[in-house]
Symmetry: C2
Subunit: 397 residues, 2 copies
């Protein structure tokens, strides 16, 4: 009398959560400082100071109905206007409040978008490696997730593979750049090529193929010269799914948005379907107080310098120790080839050195592990001898 | 290439929202004080003063990772323990943190619960009048909503109708007491009779029939002698869906919970399915800062005395003017028989007197209107002549 698929999903928590729970237990046993937990993508830098100041200031200066009352389902108009203005300033776009629909974070943005467009028999394509919850969101919406392998050395799009994956059933391509877990950013020429291919396929099949841009890591890029192209400028049938979880270090507050550009096919119907899906899924509005905070703090970003320090330290050391990994341009993950074929066995072995890594099988890339470096630089430093010993155990360096 | 049902849901905003939007427009035309807007259930009393103090105090005394970081998907353990303790104190139950799953409010609680238990061919039964979003939540989960008419004079359960509605396809009964929109509370003997009937039907059909108790109005009861029975004490297969929207006047913050009692059939599987459904629907966790506020403020209730004042004023006046309405024991709605057969036509006529009422057709009770009295007492007082004139227009008093 219970939905078995939901029961399974509840009982099989993600591998990431499982390792995170092991880490908590292990820390209690041998002391926090002796466990090197790289399992979870929980930002460890504080929000910009203005964020907490704004929470308090708004509470001091506004009445409770404004602070805590329902906003419209699509979100507070002032918040949406502030976000549109900020995007326009940064990307030379011309969005308005009416292009934005506020959500409870990226997962909600993705689930609402998928639900808004899904029809029976649909296929959604994503590139490996991919965030495992994509499979959950797509399959429980009644569609099929098709994975398109990227170039095994660079994790950039393999356009031959992608073209082979697109069929008349393709409803959308799910893109995550900067990527969790590889840290790879799709450069402008890649995005241009992707846009051209999708436009061609739209023509060939005579229907819209959406590009769903999952962008929680947009601001987490550590080198001046790396630009993250704004997808709507290259391909009109793009829906942007955004979250402030990483850029403002507010993952628990569940705040983000969906952006539907006017240029998309049947944009007004699509926006209505987004609103309808939000309603059907039980999302009444995004949390009101935090919406108001976003209005005031839009455009600010947490101090991400620690992530850059961590990335450089870890990337340099691990490649020196004989590990193979692609240089991550963004996000806060290092994606490393396991030193044996079975990444789960490798992660088990890593535990002997108190290193908690995540095998990437569920990301669609067996043989790799994800290292979340959104931890203290001190943890990185202290963990390096353990990474070296692990490499030694496999006969490296 | 868009899901038509979602597009429809987005384009057909609830009747309530439509009237609310008309009200905003009308107020801009003739002045706020000249429009008597009774359309929307947005609490107009502030949160208890402790709530805003707690927001600020937590920000001043805790680090950002604790304040704004992910909680576990089921919610912060301290928050859940505090809620369990409060329920146990008030209702003599013996819940633990592990019985609770924190959600983004009542709509999320309901949608997650329905998704956790739904299987193909299922029917969910609710009593008229009912909150119209029940239909949206149930139908978009792939099940059928069956409505069971209540006694037309008292809006209490008609057990003959209910028994006729229950079939082997019945998965759950959705109960909302105090009721939106009638204000009716199901008393202990009614709950006992309901529990006995459901237990009998479970035996007859050889499977679980859940009782889903939608309880956002639990604390909104205005007379000492009215007790709202705690459903799990009467029927073990009860899932409680709660929200702090009304009790703490925090509707925009999206905070509530699902309670799965240990006594429910396969309680552990059911709780897992709730967690799985939350995951599949894109709910990562309930907003973290507000979860922490709930931990500190649990058991507090906004000053609801204005609602009682409003209810008494409005009920006494309207019955005097010749309107027929059941005496509302709780919630903040007065449910009134329209003075002509077509409630929509009646509401149009009411607009001539700047009275904004909601026709109850979508609540499953044509011929009635809902008056949300969560407004200022001043608005109630100023609106009374208009209600009198409207009655006169129909030849009353």
């Amino acid at each position: 009398m219970i939905n078995r698929r939901m029961e399974e999903l509840g009982k099989a928590p993600s591998k990431i959560r499982e390792i995170f729970e092991y880490g908590k237990k292990r820390k209690a046993e041998i002391g926090e400082e002796n466990v090197f937990d790289f399992s979870i993508g929980n930002p460890n830098v504080p929000a910009p100071a203005d964020v907490n100041k704004t929470y308090k200031n708004l509470i001091d200066t506004h009445d409770d109905i404004w602070l805590h009352g329902y906003t419209s389902a699509s979100g507070d108009p002032d918040t949406r206007r502030a976000i549109a203005d900020d995007l326009n300033r940064r990307f030379g776009t011309s969005f308005q409040a009416s292009n934005l629909y506020m959500t409870c974070g990226a997962a909600a943005s993705l689930k609402i978008t998928i639900t808004a467009i899904v029809e029976p028999g649909d296929e959604f394509i994503t590139f490996t490696p991919f965030f495992p919850e994509y499979r959950v969101f797509v399959e429980t919406a009644g569609a099929k997730l098709v994975t398109s392998p990227t170039d095994p050395d660079t994790f950039q799009i393999d356009f031959g593979n992608l073209e082979a994956a697109i069929t008349e059933k393709t409803k959308a391509i799910l893109v995550n750049s900067p990527n969790n877990p590889s840290g790879v950013v799709f450069r402008e020429e890649t995005v241009q090529k992707l846009a051209a291919l999708l436009a061609e396929k739209e023509k060939e099949y005579g229907h819209t193929i959406f590009l769903i841009a999952d962008e929680p890591y947009r601001e987490l890029v550590y080198d001046e010269e790396i630009k993250v192209p704004y997808m709507t400028k290259y391909y009109p049938d793009t829906v942007v799914c955004y979250s402030y979880s990483k850029s403002l270090s507010l993952p628990g507050e569940r705040i983000g948005y969906i952006l539907v550009p006017d240029e998309a096919d049947h944009a007004a119907d699509l926006y209505a379907a987004v609103a309808g899906a939000g309603r059907a899924l039980g999302y009444v509005c995004a949390p009101s107080l935090t919406q108001h905070v976003i209005e005031k703090c839009v455009g600010q970003v947490s101090d991400l310098s620690v992530y850059k320090t961590n990335r450089d330290l870890l990337y340099d050391a691990l490649t020196e120790y004989g590990y193979t990994c692609v240089h991550p341009d963004g996000a806060f993950y290092l994606f490393v080839k396991a030193l044996e074929e079975d990444a789960s066995a490798f992660c088990e072995r890593a535990k002997d050195f108190e290193l908690l890594l995540v095998p990437a099988d569920s990301f669609g890339t067996p043989g790799y592990v994800r290292i979340a470096y959104c931890v203290t630089t001190d943890q990185i430093r202290r963990s390096l001898p353990a990474f070296r010993k692990l490499a030694h155990a496999y006969g490296r360096s």
